[in-house]
Symmetry: C2
Subunit: 205 residues, 2 copies
Amino acid sequence: MSTPGKREKNRRDKQQRITTAAGALFASKGVEATSTSEIARRAGVAKGTLFLYAPNKIDLLFMVMHDRLEQTVDAAIASAPKRKGLNARLLHVFKALYAMYERSGSMGREFVRSLPGASGPNAERVNALTFAFLHRLAGLVLEAQHAGEVRADVVPMEAAQNVFALYFAGLMAWLQGFATIEQALDPILSRSLELQFRGLGATKR
Amino acid sequence: MSTPGKREKNRRDKQQRITTAAGALFASKGVEATSTSEIARRAGVAKGTLFLYAPNKIDLLFMVMHDRLEQTVDAAIASAPKRKGLNARLLHVFKALYAMYERSGSMGREFVRSLPGASGPNAERVNALTFAFLHRLAGLVLEAQHAGEVRADVVPMEAAQNVFALYFAGLMAWLQGFATIEQALDPILSRSLELQFRGLGATKR
DNA sequence: TTCAATAACTGACCATGGTCATTATTAATC
DNA sequence: GATTAATAATGACCATGGTCAGTTATTGAA
C-alpha cells in the first residue's frame, strides 16, 4: 500500500490550492494586476508559502500554464489530420496553440512575453515540455519524409527547430500588436511555413 | 540660425546624462542589480525625472540599447561581403549582432529577454529599428534574387521575416543557456539558414 | 508515549519601482 | 521689466515582490 505521508499530502494539497488561486486571479485580472498577497489569501496560505512553491511571481504563472500547454499539445497532436500534407498538420497543431493563448487572454500574453530566459523550477518544466514538443514536430517531419514529401537528407529535428522558430515569430507578431491571433496563423505563419517548405534557393539543373 | 531654446537644450542634456548613467550602471552591475535611485543619483537628477524620459526601468534599457543596435546594424550591413552568397552575408550581419549582445553582457541578455511585447517610447524606437532591419535583410534577398541565387517567385520581405525568426531563435537558444553565442551562430543559425535556403520539400520531377 | 530532529509554514519587514501634489524654470504677453 | 501661462523637475510617499528569523507540524527513534 502506498503511504503518501502527511507531509507529501499537505504539499500536494497546497500546491493545488495555490495553482488554482493563481490561475483564477491571473485569468480574471491579469498577471500584473494580481498581487501575491491576493493569491496567498485566496489559496488560504501565508505569503511566504507561495515562494516555497515558486521562487517568484512569474514562476507561478509558469506553474499555471504548464498544464494548459501540455493538454493543448497532446490534444492537437492526437487530432492532427493524418491524410494531409506536412504543412497542414503543422498548421493544425499551431492553430490549437494559438487558440489556447487567445483563450488565456492577458495571461497568455504575459506568459509568452516571459518565455525567453525564464528560470525557476516551473520554467524548467515548461522548457522540458517545449523540448518534447520539438520531438513531436520532428516526428511529423519524419512521417512526411517516409511519405516522400520531405527530402531524405533533411534532419527532422533541425526542421522541427526551424518550424518552431517560425511559430514563435507568429506569436511575437501577435504580442507586438502587429497582427491578431488569426492573422498570426493565417497569413503570417502559413506563408512562413510554405516558404520554409519550398526553400529560397533557385533550383539547380 | 537655429534657436534650440533653453528647454530643448536642457532636455537633451538630461536625456544624455540619464542614458549615460543608466548605460554605465547596467553594463557594470546588470539591470536587476541597478536601482532607479542609483541611476538618478548618478545622472544628477531626481528619481521622478527618470520617469519623464522613460515610463519604466526597462524602457531605460531600451533607450541605452537603441544606439548600440543601430550602430551595429549599420556597420554590419556596410561591411557585408559583396562577393559571397546570401547565407554568408546574412551570417556576417548576424554575427555582428550576436557579438554586440555578447559584449553587452548581462545587459544584452536582459534586453533580448525583454524584447517580446515591450512597450514605451524607446521600445517603439527599437521596434522601428527592427522594422528597418527587416527591410535591409529584404534588400540582401533581392540582390541575391537578381544574381539568380534566389528563386524569382520569393517575396523578399517574407524571406527576410523567416530569416529573422531563425536569428531570433538562435538568440533564444543562447538566452536559455542551450548554447554559447558562438554555437548560436555556428552550428545553430548557420544550419537553420541552410535549411531555409534549401527547403524541406522533395524536388518534384 | 516522549522527545529530538527535521521540514514546512508564517507574517512582519525591507528594498525598490513607480506616482503625483508641489515647487521651480522657461516661454509668452503686455 | 513685470505678470501670467505652460512646462519641467522634485522627492516624500505608496504598493508590491520577495526575505527570513521565529514558530508550528511531522517524522522516526528510544
